[in-house]
Assembly symmetry: C3
Homo-oligomer: 211 residues x 3
Amino acid sequence: MKLQYFLELIGTTFFAMSGAIVANKKSRPDWFGVTFISFITSIGGGSIRDILLGCYPLVWIKDINIMYAIMLGVILTSLFYNRILKMRKMMFLFDTLGVAMFTIIGTEKAMNFGVNPVIAAIMGMFSAVMGGVLRDVLTNEIPILFRKELYSSLCLIGATFYLILDFFNINRSTDFILSILLILSLRIGAVRYDWAFPKFIKGGEEDFQEH
Amino acid sequence: MKLQYFLELIGTTFFAMSGAIVANKKSRPDWFGVTFISFITSIGGGSIRDILLGCYPLVWIKDINIMYAIMLGVILTSLFYNRILKMRKMMFLFDTLGVAMFTIIGTEKAMNFGVNPVIAAIMGMFSAVMGGVLRDVLTNEIPILFRKELYSSLCLIGATFYLILDFFNINRSTDFILSILLILSLRIGAVRYDWAFPKFIKGGEEDFQEH
Amino acid sequence: MKLQYFLELIGTTFFAMSGAIVANKKSRPDWFGVTFISFITSIGGGSIRDILLGCYPLVWIKDINIMYAIMLGVILTSLFYNRILKMRKMMFLFDTLGVAMFTIIGTEKAMNFGVNPVIAAIMGMFSAVMGGVLRDVLTNEIPILFRKELYSSLCLIGATFYLILDFFNINRSTDFILSILLILSLRIGAVRYDWAFPKFIKGGEEDFQEH
């Protein structure tokens, strides 16, 4: 469990780093703006999951180390900005590992709350992607969901895979590692081979009544 | 009560259908994106109401049938997309009935929580419109509130009407049906006769200090 | 305590007034739209703070006077719109006083919840600025955070100052007033002398993997 906690902090630092890099690309905000966005990106997904579940106190409010992990990420990004940009493949790997880990941890947390597995898988996906969605909404971007949908759906697939193995009583650590490896492989495959989901139906220029 | 539950599920399916149609019009996302947006549209309003009230567990987390009703809506939309677009008037009718129903149910739920009737009416309106607002925010649209304000205000009027009849001890079923009919009539009137609220004051090109 | 409650209501009315003025500038919505946005601006920050802390019931749901203070603000704005725009400096003063007060009250509330002071300062800042962020998201604007970052950071500085004096057991009223005066002075200074935080690092046209 201590190892997992340590990994979560490292994952948070990586989230904060990629959050800071993305934030910095939008209209070049100052230190405060970058830190704020990096913070929201890092804690947003888990917060939305916990608020939806009514699971209080929120992780980052209970445990101040998460805040320090985020600040570390922002400072590292500022110190080694150009070097980090060059280590693109390594960052991609760490980022995906973080995303995969947060997906499975979020799914587990929801299951421990006694929700239906379908809901648990959604909560796992939310944990991993909602921070990025909040960031996109705050920076007035089209959320990543619509640009690279595969990203979120791979989390959902990974969470489902985890729950299926769990249903068959596979050992927790094995299940954990296999599910993370699945998300990692799928994401590498998706980027390399340009996988895409089928489009929904193409409609005409209808003006359907909205709500 | 069983009838109402059944109606709520049907209403959810209609919400999901109109959500899927609107989602599909924006940048033509894939299956996953359409389902995601349709899901947020369907559960967003009720979730915001319950989170604001601190009323846990959220309805869709407690009752998995809501998820199935949403999935049904997405699948029906994909199967009968063009036919649905042609049945515009019928869809408008069902959509408005759904909106009206969710408004009144949301108002009742807030009242059962013991809040002030003014707050209850706002919660009723939130239940019906916040899903659409979230959808618009996620798809980077100007929220519907600013495009067709009447839409939300009719929900508020309907909720207020419900609370007034309730205050005078009108039978719950009668009150429920009358309030829904009022919202339905007002919306039909608003669309047919192009009703609009008075504009707020027109200001100059001031640069007032914002926060 | 009664004085503070009275000041809070006045602060809410000022928040609602500046909210209504900003809302009216965006695509000139009708009465309902302006009231809605003004309402969200006024209660948004405190609601986000309380939802994150899990502190129920939300202040405006518990105390209907807050709603009346908001309505008063909207009505006053509509009656004296042009006169208010001319009293720009006085409005700036009152607005900043309101912001400063909500920051410190939010910080205190979080401290009473027993959170880490770092978290409490963030909650204080959230109380003051998140209403404006929600308003900007709803009206599809780049959030104020990215346009005038100093605004939020001054709240964070004021909250930190409050917590430091509190740590040294300074009398609560003295601490309260000094912290508010600090935020006020900093904001006047920031506007007059065009203070700015250093920019984060300038990066190239990298296409770093986002999440």
